[in-house]
Symmetry: C2
């Protein structure tokens, strides 16, 4: 499933949140990240949603750190008892949790004497974490090894991702799309033939129910624009002209 120029950065997302697993909140950060990383030319290879549990976070971070080039966490970074991502990441990497003096200063600026334990909790990082500045929110993003720690609130998640995304830009993917009235089970052999001819193509087939316009949306992708254009032309050539609704 790799293109002729294989994706040169792989990524994973770890979404921490009981509220998502229990159906009280619908996560939107993972889908946002998937779209943004794709635009950047990064191959997102895993999304996992896990509970607010230090040991589970630690085990997941340990596994993903080695399996992917870059890992993003979402959620669990606030001041309350269920915010355990920092501790989980630290434990996963075998690092201590330490108070960051810069963040303590920021908190003191904001809260003055009312610097209670919950507020001090928000100054903690895994030991050795880098603080990345930027974004509109005046509070840096934490990164330790290849783990970027982002907040769960969607507005904050997006703001912080915007502040760090320049780090991940790679060669882009090129996407072509074919809409067809053919049944997927008829289309299958033409897709196989196209893959035989273009083995490095990323080829997806997505049927839609009860759509008067088309039956299947076929996506063709590669980091090589010419390759994907030729593959689309090849596939269209295999289909009966009346079954092709349009290409994009």
């Amino acid at each position: 499933m790799t293109g002729p120029q294989p994706p040169d950065l792989t990524a994973a997302a770890i979404v921490v949140g009981n509220e998502i697993l229990s159906g009280k909140v619908v996560d939107t950060n993972a889908a946002y990240l998937a779209q943004e990383l794709r635009k950047l030319g990064v191959a997102l290879e895993r999304i996992v949603v896990i509970p607010d549990d230090v040991e589970i976070i630690a085990a997941t971070v340990r596994m993903y750190r080695d399996a992917f080039d870059v890992v993003f966490t979402s959620g669990g970074v606030g001041p309350t008892h269920d915010d355990v991502t920092i501790e989980g990441v630290a434990r996963g990497l075998g690092r201590a949790v330490v108070r960051n003096e810069f963040l303590v200063g920021k908190m003191r600026e904001f809260f003055g004497d009312a610097l209670n334990p919950a507020r001090l909790k928000m100054t903690e990082t895994p030991e050795g974490a880098e603080l990345i500045f930027g974004g509109q929110l005046n509070f840096p993003t934490m990164c330790v090894e290849n783990i970027y720690i982002l907040p769960g609130i969607p507005e904050l998640f997006r703001d912080k991702f915007h502040a760090i995304m320049h780090r991940f830009a790679r060669a882009p993917f090129f996407l072509r799309v074919l809409y067809t009235r053919e049944m997927e089970s008829t289309l299958a052999e033409f897709l196989d033939q196209t893959l035989a001819e273009f083995p490095h193509l990323q080829l997806g087939s997505y049927p839609k129910l009860n759509d008067p316009d088309y039956r299947v949306r076929v996506t063709l992708e590669s980091k090589d624009r010419d390759y994907v254009d030729r593959a689309l032309k090849h596939l269209v050539g295999l289909l009966s002209p009346e079954s092709v609704v349009r290409t994009e």
Copy 2:
């Protein structure tokens, strides 16, 4: 994070789909499953989105089969080259892929002589799989060991889940919600005090940005209705009355 009557069935969701990881499709099946399982009293403990890759599906199935009571897969069960869930589940469980004669008969009914390899592919199951009938779609759901194999198209996913959900009903969770104008970093110590008093409570704290109505939504849950009611009363008693917007 378990209640006084701990959840008696744990679940995980494996969503198979390059289209989700590449940001072309936003998955809705996992969120739907999370909400439905919660209503049934089942604790969903993991959601993972993985590529259309037999080995990755197999490894994930092998890991989750042992870690959770019941596992649902979503997607990858159609007739095309990227539909590899059956093969992945079979490999994960150390089973062969076999053609199911009942499904072959169904396909023959529908397609008659036009029973091509792609259509025959849709009659394959992991060896020993059970077919569960019901739902509006005339095509059964596959189950093998504790793995339920559901299609990715949302309408079909829901229809099939409806056909099998009676198998999973357990004692329900009871949810109470508090909306407060308190800052989360002030609230934290009251949440800690409430947890000290009610250690089996599932307690979540979710700040909202720029909402004129409230700052934090606090969720309290348990399978013991009286326990959660008492915990809410305790927490409200710790807050200044003017900071409480409402409870539900």
